[in-house]
C-alpha cells in the first residue's frame, strides 16, 4: 500500500451565476481593487488515500467527487495529484500593504 494525496477543485459551472463570488467582488471594489472584473468562488478539497497504485487511488477519488464532493447539476470538478502532503505547514501569509487596511477602515465594511 502506498499513500497518495490528491486535490479536488470544485467549481460552479461557468454558465451559473455565483452570488458568493459577486459579494466578494463587491467587497474587492470597496477595498479599492477597481481593476478586478470577475471573482468566482469554488472549493478545494485535499484528500489523503492509501491504495496499491496511483491510478486506483485516482479512480477512487474521482468516484467520490462524482458521488459526494460535486453536484453535477451545478458544479464541475478536477482531480490533481499533489506532490507534497497537505500536512506540511503553509508558508506565512504575506503582509498586507498598509493602504489596503486604510481602505477597509474607511469603507466601513
Amino acid at each position: 500500500m502506498s499513500q497518495f494525496t490528491f486535490t479536488v477543485i470544485v467549481r460552479l459551472r461557468q454558465s451559473i451565476l455565483d452570488p458568493q463570488g459577486k459579494a466578494v467582488l463587491h467587497a474587492a471594489h470597496l477595498l479599492g481593487f477597481a481593476s478586478i472584473r470577475e471573482i468566482r468562488v469554488g472549493k478545494i478539497i485535499d484528500i489523503t488515500i492509501e491504495e496499491e497504485t496511483e491510478s486506483q487511488a485516482q479512480q477512487a477519488i474521482e468516484e467520490l467527487a462524482r458521488k459526494l464532493l460535486a453536484n453535477p447539476v451545478i458544479e464541475d470538478f478536477r482531480v490533481t495529484k499533489m506532490e507534497v502532503s497537505p500536512n506540511v505547514p503553509m508558508p506565512e501569509p504575506p503582509q498586507l500593504e498598509e493602504t489596503h487596511w486604510k481602505a477597509h477602515e474607511t469603507s466601513g465594511v
Binding site: 451565476l17 455565483d18 452570488p19 458568493q20 472549493k43 459526494l68 447539476v73 451545478i74
Partner: protein
C-alpha cells in the same frame, strides 16, 4: 385509527423538526414520531417529513451529507413504494441532492439570507399535498433560507412545465408570478416541485410555521389537511 401516521426525520442540525411534530400532534392530533437519521426501519410510517434546518451544518452543500444518512436509503424505498414524502426547506435541498426531485439549489441571488413571509401561488392542486387548495390560490407562508435559489437546466424546466410538476411559485398577493415576488432568484419563481409520480414534494417555505392563528398565519394548514384528506 389516526391514519396517516407521520414520521419527522431528525438529522444532526435539523431545527424545524419539533415545529412539524408539534403541528401534527397538537393541532391535527395525528400519530407522529421522530425518526433518528440512523434508523433503518420506517415501515410503520405513511408520510415522511424531512424538516428544515441545517443538517450537518450545511457543510459541502446544503443537504449533500444528510443525503447519505442511513435513513435516506429507507426514505428512497418509501418513495418507491408510492408513499408520501414532504421535504421542507433543508428537507427540499436533501430531496434534490438525493435525486428524488430534479434540480439543485444555489445561494440566493440577493446574496442575503431571506427570512420573511412570502406569498406563493398554487399551480397544481391535483396532488396529495394540495388537494384542499384550488389552482391559483395564493398562500402566505414564512420562508427562511440562504440557499433557496432553485436551478435546473432549460430542458429540465420545460419537462417540469410539461408534466405540471411545479406546485408552488412565488407570486404577488394577487397571484402574479413576477420578478419582484421572487425572494431568491429561483428559475421560474419555483417555490415547490413534485416528482412525476406525485408522491414526493419539496418546498422552500415552511407550512409548519403557518398552521396556528396564534402565530399569525394558517395557510400552511392546507398542506397538512390535504395530506390527511388523501388518506380518507
Amino acid at each position: 385509527m389516526n391514519k396517516p401516521s407521520f414520521g419527522v426525520v431528525v438529522f444532526p442540525g435539523s431545527n424545524c423538526d419539533h415545529d412539524a411534530y408539534y403541528v401534527l400532534r397538537h393541532i391535527f392530533e395525528k400519530s407522529v414520531r421522530y425518526v433518528w437519521h440512523k434508523e433503518t426501519d420506517i415501515s410503520d410510517i405513511d408520510v415522511i417529513i424531512l424538516p428544515g434546518g441545517f443538517s450537518y451544518g450545511d457543510y459541502l452543500r446544503s443537504g449533500a451529507i444528510a443525503r447519505f444518512s442511513p435513513v435516506m436509503r429507507e426514505v428512497v424505498r418509501h418513495a418507491q413504494k408510492g408513499k408520501l414524502v414532504l421535504g421542507i426547506c433543508n428537507g427540499f435541498q436533501i430531496l434534490l441532492e438525493a435525486n428524488l426531485l430534479p434540480g439543485a439549489m444555489l445561494r440566493n441571488a440577493s446574496m442575503r439570507f431571506v427570512c420573511k413571509s412570502v406569498t406563493i401561488r398554487v399551480d397544481n392542486a391535483k396532488t396529495p399535498f394540495t388537494s384542499m387548495c384550488r389552482e391559483g390560490d395564493v398562500l402566505e407562508i414564512p420562508t427562511a433560507h440562504g440557499e433557496g435559489n432553485y436551478y435546473a437546466d432549460n430542458d429540465t424546466l420545460q419537462q417540469l412545465l410539461d408534466d405540471n410538476q411545479i406546485v408552488f411559485r412565488y407570486s404577488t398577493t394577487n397571484g402574479d408570478v413576477v420578478d419582484e415576488a421572487n425572494p431568491n432568484g429561483s428559475c421560474l419563481n419555483i417555490a415547490g416541485v413534485i416528482n412525476k409520480k406525485r408522491n414526493v414534494l419539496g418546498m422552500m417555505p415552511h407550512p409548519e410555521r403557518a398552521s396556528e392563528s396564534l402565530l399569525g398565519y394558517e395557510d400552511g394548514k392546507k398542506i397538512f389537511e390535504s395530506i390527511i384528506n388523501y388518506f380518507n
